[in-house]
Subunit: 432 residues, 2 copies
């Protein structure tokens, strides 16, 4: 039997933890046989000492072993692809990517999470759609992917339960920010969720966990390594999160933007990221094509309407109403006007996310209710020219008072300068 204090001390002193030790520890932790305080001390020791590649993989496997796994490959008889984002402001990428990939004939299956703080969760966004069911049984999940070509559902309570427990603990003990622990947390769920190939969108910048490209690269390397050890194909996109993605921040607003994008009418930066993700997903699928061909097919699916048809089939299959006018609208819509002329040199992702959060689009604590109708449309983004009196953003609020407050916060999120800022692409790097 392991002695947790001994493992903590060894890691504290820079030593290595063996796979069987991590396995026993995680099983005991999931069964409440090892207390939170020992895991908290261990996570802080890991924060300072790190985990090597073998330890990170052992932790990932150990966490997976605490719960159920899904074998989509066997159930569907072919290769299944998945996409994951490390989380950002205005990130509705999966909601546009899934239908495009499905329209190209590749099964897309994703288990997703809810949002907390200034980044929204995909499930919360999908719940803007009247009737949409995020909780499917494993059988329903498999049937939906088979029949509608795609599914996005909430992870079952017993998918990597040790990760759920550990993540909640790390959140309140300042031990979230460690590449190995983040990589193990993400990859344990992706591997347990059963996809054969995974495209990961690792966000970089002000609004993301990873503030610098170097940090994001280190995280990506850790995830690629875990993928290789678990024999899953993994591609990592490192993408910009210094400003919100696309225009819309807020649940129903983001669904509208995803629909527009599937129809070819989305904002340029968001479309670029969607195409980058789709091209890589198709390239790792069983279609046997490369990313250039993947990009061409994705653009074709948008252009010929098959992507939107796939969207409708997906939403309908999960019980939702795919019509855009079924989505809720906010009673108060107000423009934020620019006080001066110039170029938007910065648009703080966190500040916009916080403004949306305060409008009611997100949760401050786990028990908060979400107002799906509210949010922000960023009408100008970094590099855009604006004249004094022209709108910078559109605020969708529940009340005038909430709109007033959001206007103040949003005004501070925009920096207007005389010269345009240096260009920064949305996709900063791709690792595989």
């Amino acid at each position: 039997m392991i002695r947790p204090a001994e493992l903590i001390e060894r890691k504290r002193d820079g030593g290595e933890l063996a796979p069987e030790e991590l396995n026993e520890l995680m099983l005991a932790y999931a069964r409440d046989e090892v207390p939170d305080y020992q895991l908290a001390a261990l996570c802080m020791a890991i924060y300072f000492r790190g985990l090597n590649s073998a330890e990170t993989y052992a932790l990932t496997e150990a966490m997976i072993a605490t719960g159920d796994t899904v074998d989509l490959h066997s159930a569907l008889g072919r290769k299944v692809v998945d996409k994951h984002s490390t989380g950002g402001v205005g990130d509705k990428t999966s909601i546009a990517v899934g239908p495009i990939v499905a329209a190209c004939g590749v099964p897309f299956a994703k288990m997703s999470g809810r949002g907390l703080g200034h980044t929204g969760g995909t499930l919360d966004k999908l719940e803007s759609i009247p009737g949409f069911r995020v909780e499917l049984s494993t059988d329903e999940f498999v049937a939906q992917v088979r029949d509608a070509g795609m599914a996005i559902i909430g992870a079952s309570a017993n998918l990597v339960p040790a990760d759920k427990k550990l993540y909640a603990l790390r959140d309140v003990t300042a031990t979230v920010d460690n590449y190995s622990l983040i990589a193990a947390s993400i990859m344990s769920k992706k591997i347990a969720g059963g996809a054969d190939a995974i495209v990961i969108d690792a966000k970089v910048g002000d609004g993301a966990f990873m503030k610098s490209l170097d940090d994001a690269r280190a995280l990506a390397e850790a995830m690629l390594d875990l993928g290789a050890r678990a024999r899953r194909e993994v591609v990592c996109l490192l993408t910009d999160m210094d400003q919100p993605l696309g225009s819309a921040v807020g649940n129903a607003l983001e669904i509208r933007e995803a629909i527009a994008t599937v129809k070819g009418e989305g904002p340029a930066d968001f479309l670029e990221l969607v195409l980058a993700a789709c091209s890589r997903l198709l390239a790792v699928s069983d279609l046997g094509i490369d990313e250039y061909e993947g990009r061409a097919r994705a653009m074709q699916a948008i252009a010929d309407g098959s992507a939107f048809t796939a969207y409708e089939r997906w939403i309908d299959g999960q019980g939702g109403d795919p019509a855009e006018d079924a989505l809720p609208s906010a009673p108060v819509v107000r423009e934020l006007l620019s006080e001066r002329s110039g170029y938007v040199s910065a648009l703080g992702a966190v500040a916009v996310g916080q403004a949306a959060l305060h409008l009611g689009a997100g949760r401050r604590t786990k028990d908060d209710l979400i107002d799906h109708a509210v949010g922000v449309l960023c009408l100008r983004k970094r590099g855009d020219r604006v004249a004094a009196g022209e709108p910078l953003a559109e605020i969708h609020a529940a009340t005038d008072a909430a709109a007033d407050e959001a206007a103040q916060e949003l005004a501070a999120a925009f920096t207007i300068a005389d010269e345009p800022p240096p260009q920064r692409p949305v996709v900063l790097d791709v690792l595989s």
Copy 2:
């Protein structure tokens, strides 16, 4: 209201915690309003980042504020001295030092603890004495010091309760070994216990927390700094714990050795440490003498029998029987003979402590019962010459089987070489 996760993060990133933050944190922790897991993460962050001098003092004060304090100075109308040891094998120093200091006319008041693992606690040793009461009320404590000149009692449950809780947590989260946390733990109890001047015996070596002289010096500096900030006179002796102190290891055996030492018949290394401690205690007392005069008076008290009289008065005052033959004896006494001739070049303190522990002299877990009669007498110490077949040690055991086991462990504790080892004094350094 403080947010503990924010304090953890700040410390993790090398920042500083403010006195009022530490104060609020410790009060909330003592009231169970902040969970153990957050303190565990904080202690591990402190392990890596350290606490500066101001933070260490603030933590000490914050812990004191969670419980009661004793003002001996006001109660007795004069300066009171105390002595503390960081803990070692065979450390019965206070039991000999107290009566000698009291015989010299200086009030000696000490709150002490119980032992866990390979080091014994002073209270456990004193409980070898039939009838001896370690639990006195504060009024009884003050009366005993006034009437008998000295008292050694168990700390009340409400003396620095935050330290009790935090120490138990650190013990199981590998966060004990940090100078600042150790210094704050020791000094919070000494300051709350009410002594004006404190002599600290910081053990160095194999059998101690501090393995090197540099480590012990760092701990001593931290305690001197806390003493200065709290306006208490503190002297730190750095003393050898590479081998057990004196000959006796085990509760009643150690009481016998303390009595012998008070009568001038103790082992040389132990007597040397006792005189070093007494001379400093008398020098920081209100007698207005220096340590050389202090040493002379201590030797005089031993020689003229007044120290033993003070011992009898003390034990009697706390309800115990001071007669040596009232102490329990073990049924099995066996000699460990040397297999070869030579010099004892090393005598492992931990190994001897473990042998005594396994004989039943100590506790492996908090709930173990102690056999006060059992233990080990080290008849040869480092540097001593021994011929093949001569005794190295005497084992006092409850059963033959236990004696067999201890003999094996003890044999491994002795290293015999052809040449004598370099001399190493018991008092390595003195800091004040």
